[in-house]
């Protein structure tokens, strides 16, 4: 392996990082829209364990590795948690207006 090959792998990693970043933020926007849509209907926009389990099942079913399901589930739970925090923040802002 030449130095160039390592640099190329790192460039690819940086590229994938930014793609993941973009999708996590896109997901955040969708979570906000979903929360808003639910709120407009007077529905509880907070944590929905059934929906979370449903999403996790779909993710596990589609996991082809190299990461094990347990690792993937851990990462997605963190991503879901971040989404919930986004809703909390929005709700606090709502109270100020």
């Amino acid at each position: 392996m030449s130095r160039t090959e390592l640099e190329q792998l790192r460039e690819e990693l940086d590229g994938v990082n930014l793609e993941i970043l973009e999708l996590i933020n896109k997901r955040g926007e969708l979570v906000k829209q979903t929360a808003q849509a639910k709120e407009n209907h007077g529905a509880d926009k907070k944590y929905d364990p059934v929906r979370e389990r449903d999403m996790l099942e779909r993710i596990k079913k589609n996991n082809e590795g190299p990461f094990k399901n347990a690792t993937i589930i851990h990462l997605f739970k963190e991503i879901f948690k971040a989404g919930l925090e986004l809703q909390e923040k929005d709700h606090s802002n709502d109270l100020l207006v």
Copy 2:
């Protein structure tokens, strides 16, 4: 908002989840390749704090929200940690052959 709109948002979320899953696994493959490439050169393939800081800086610079940098950094540190575990696992396997 109709029921259909909420369903549509959820379908979009499921789609984004699977895109994130695919990229996290693609990242895992790249991490494995990088570790292998380093090992072939007798370099330490483990945790590289300088490289991690470099990646996080690039990620922060490109973060357009809605997630705050602190949340994004937390999520990526978890993703990086998962990558390290993948290397550890590979290394253990190497010792068995």
